[in-house]
Amino acid sequence: MAWFVDWLKKLFSSAERRQEPSDSVRNSLDEQGDRGEAVLQSEKPERPPVYVDRVSRSDIIAWRNQCLSFNEIEVRKEYAQLVARIEKELETCSLVKLGDQQRFHKEQVQPLINESEKQVIVRCMAYAEDGLRKIPGIDAMAFDQPVDYEATNPDLDAQAGLKHGAGSLFMMGAGAAAVPVTASVSTVSAGGLMGLLGATAVSIPIAMTGGTFVVLMVGYGLFRAARSRPVLSEEYLDKVEQSLRKNLFAGRKSVVRQLNGNIKRVSQGLLARARG
C-alpha cells in the first residue's frame, strides 16, 4: 500500500502545483514580464508567441509509434520462445503425464505461460516508460497535468492493478475460469511519470479452458497410448499455439492490444495538450 499512499501524495502535490505556477512557469512569466513579451497571442496580439510547449508533439508521436512497434515485435518474440519451451516440456514429459493433458497443462505449461506473459508485459511497459522519460519536458507535464487514469482506461481491470500494486501478479481463484482473465500484471511508474503511464493493468487472458484437453481413458492401453504420443503432442501443441496467438497478439483482448491501447490513450492525452 505504500506506493498507493505515495501516489496520492504526488497527486495532491500536483494539484497544488496547478493552483500556483511552478518555478519554471514563474520564471518564464518573470522573464516575459522583463522583456515585455507575451506567451499568448490573445493577451498581446501585436507580439508573436515566443514560447511553445516544452513537449513536442512530434516526440510524443515518435514515442507512441516506437512503443507500438516494440510491443508487436516483442510479443511475437516471446511467442516463439514460449512455443520452443513448451515443445521441450512435451519432449521430456512422461507418457502418463501427457495422458492427462489438463493436469499436464495446469502443472507444467500454464506456469510457463503466466511467467512469460508477465515478463513480456513488464518489458513492454518498462520500454514505454523509459522512452517517455527521454522526451524533453515530459517530467514537468507529468506533475503539472496528470492524466485521469481511470477515466482513460475504462475497459481495463484498473482496480485489480491498483489493488495489487507494482509488479504483482494476481491469480484469481478457480471459480474465475470462465472469465477470460486469470491474472493481471500491473506496472506502476515510479517517480515523476506517475500521472502519465499511471498504474497500468494488463490482464492476461486465460490460456486454455478444461474442455479443450484430451484425457486418456482408463484401459486405453499403454501400447496404443505410446503409439499415439506424437499425435497427442501435436494436437496439444496446436491447441496451445492457437490459444497463445489469440492471447498474445491476435485476439481482441490480447496482451498486445491492451498494451497498445494503453500507449494510444496516454499519447492521445498528451497530444491534446502539447503544441510546439
Binding site: 518564464s28 508567441p49 510547449d53 513536442s56 507500438l68 516483442e74 511475437r76 511467442y79 496467438r245 497478439f249
Partner: protein, 331 residues
C-alpha cells in the same frame, strides 16, 4: 550577419543541440527546459540549388543505399553535416520542396517539377492497382495535378511583374479547391479497408506530397503578397488539419489493418519486422512534415513582427552560397 538581418550559422548552436538543452522542432530551435523559441531556421539558396533537384525523385520508400549514395556526393557533404547537426535525418527522404525549412526557397518552379513527377508516377500505380484505380479516378487525379502545375507556373511568372501581389493572391485562392480535392482523397485512402500493399501506400504518399506542396505554395503566395498574418493563419489551420489526418497514423495499425482476414495473422517477428520497416520511413516522414507545418506560423509571425518582407528575405537567402541553413535568432 547577412545584410541587415542578423542571421547566424547553425554551428553556433552545436554544443547546445548536442547536450539537448536546445532541441529542434520543425523549423525552429527551442529551449528544452522552458519551451522558449530560441531561433528560427531558414533554408538558403545553396540548399535549394544543391539538394532540391536531386531529391525530387527520392521518396521514403527508396532503399537506404540509394539515399546513402546521394548523401555520399561530395557536394552534399556540407549540407549533410549541417542537417545532421540540426537532427534532420529525415530530410534526405523528404526533398526540400516538399517540406522546406522555414519559408521555402525551393521556388514555384521546383514545386511544379514535383507535380510533373507525380503525374509520371500515376502510370506505375495504374499498373499495380488497376482495380481500385479506374480510368475515371485517374483522369480526375491528372486533371487536378495539371491544374496545380499551371497555378505554380503562374506563381513563378509573377516574379517578373512589377506588381505581382494580385497574381500571388489569385494563385493562392485557386489552389484552395485543388488542396480540398487532395485532402478528401487522402481521407478516402486512409480509411479504405482491405489489403494494403506497397503500391497503395506509395499512392497515398504521392497524394500527401501533392497536398503538402499545394499548401506550401499557397502559404508562400500569401507571404509573397505581403499577407503574413493570413499566411500564418492558413499555415496554422492546415497544420491542425494535418493533425486530424495523421496524428493517429502508425505503421503498426497500417500493417494490422492490411492483414487479409482470410489468412492467419503474422506470427513470425522477423516477417512482421520486415513489414513494419517498410513503413517506418513513411511514418517518420509524416511526423517531420507535421513538425515543419506546425512550426512555420511562428516564423511567419516573427517575420511580420520584425517587418521583414518576403522579397528581402528571399533576396538575402538566395545570395547565401556557403551555408545551406542559417539561423534567425528570436529576440
Amino acid at each position: 550577419m547577412i545584410g541587415s538581418i542578423p542571421f547566424e550559422i547553425p554551428a553556433k548552436y552545436a554544443a547546445d543541440l548536442a547536450s539537448g538543452s536546445i532541441v529542434r522542432f520543425g523549423g525552429l530551435l527551442k529551449d528544452a527546459s522552458t519551451g522558449r523559441i530560441v531561433a528560427h531556421l531558414q533554408e538558403t539558396g545553396s540548399l535549394a540549388q544543391r539538394l532540391g533537384a536531386q531529391l525530387l525523385n527520392v521518396s521514403p520508400f527508396d532503399g537506404v543505399s540509394a539515399i546513402s549514395s546521394l548523401a555520399g556526393n561530395m557536394q552534399l557533404a556540407k549540407i549533410q553535416k549541417t542537417l545532421e547537426l540540426l537532427q534532420i535525418q529525415q530530410w534526405l527522404t523528404l526533398g526540400s520542396s516538399l517540406v522546406g525549412i522555414g519559408v521555402s526557397l525551393a521556388g514555384f518552379k521546383m514545386m511544379s517539377d514535383r507535380f510533373d513527377r507525380l503525374d509520371q508516377r500515376l502510370d506505375a500505380f495504374k499498373e499495380h492497382i488497376d482495380r481500385r484505380f479506374d480510368e475515371l479516378v485517374e483522369r480526375d487525379y491528372r486533371n487536378h495535378l495539371s491544374r496545380v502545375r499551371d497555378l505554380l507556373r503562374e506563381a513563378e511568372s509573377a516574379y517578373t511583374y512589377r506588381n505581382p501581389d494580385d497574381r500571388f493572391m489569385r494563385v493562392a485562392e485557386s489552389l484552395e479547391s485543388v488542396i480540398s480535392f487532395l485532402r478528401s482523397e487522402i481521407d478516402h485512402n486512409l480509411g479504405k479497408k482491405g489489403t494494403r500493399n506497397e503500391e497503395t501506400i506509395k499512392l497515398l504518399w504521392s497524394l500527401i506530397e501533392g497536398f503538402v506542396t499545394g499548401i506550401n505554395a499557397r502559404v508562400q503566395c500569401l507571404a509573397e503578397a505581403g499577407e503574413m498574418t493570413a499566411a500564418a493563419d492558413l499555415s496554422r489551420r492546415e497544420a491542425e488539419g494535418f493533425y486530424r489526418f495523421f496524428d493517429g497514423f502508425s505503421a503498426v495499425d497500417w500493417v494490422n489493418a492490411g492483414i487479409d482476414p482470410a489468412r492467419e495473422i503474422e506470427t513470425s517477428w522477423e516477417r512482421y519486422s520486415i513489414q513494419l520497416n517498410k513503413l517506418h520511413p513513411f511514418e517518420n516522414s509524416l511526423t517531420e512534415i507535421q513538425s515543419q507545418m506546425d512550426s512555420r506560423p511562428y516564423l511567419l509571425e516573427y517575420l511580420e513582427q520584425e517587418q521583414i518582407r518576403m522579397s528581402d528575405l528571399r533576396g538575402l537567402m538566395e545570395q547565401e552560397t556557403r551555408e545551406p541553413v542559417v539561423v534567425l535568432p528570436a529576440r
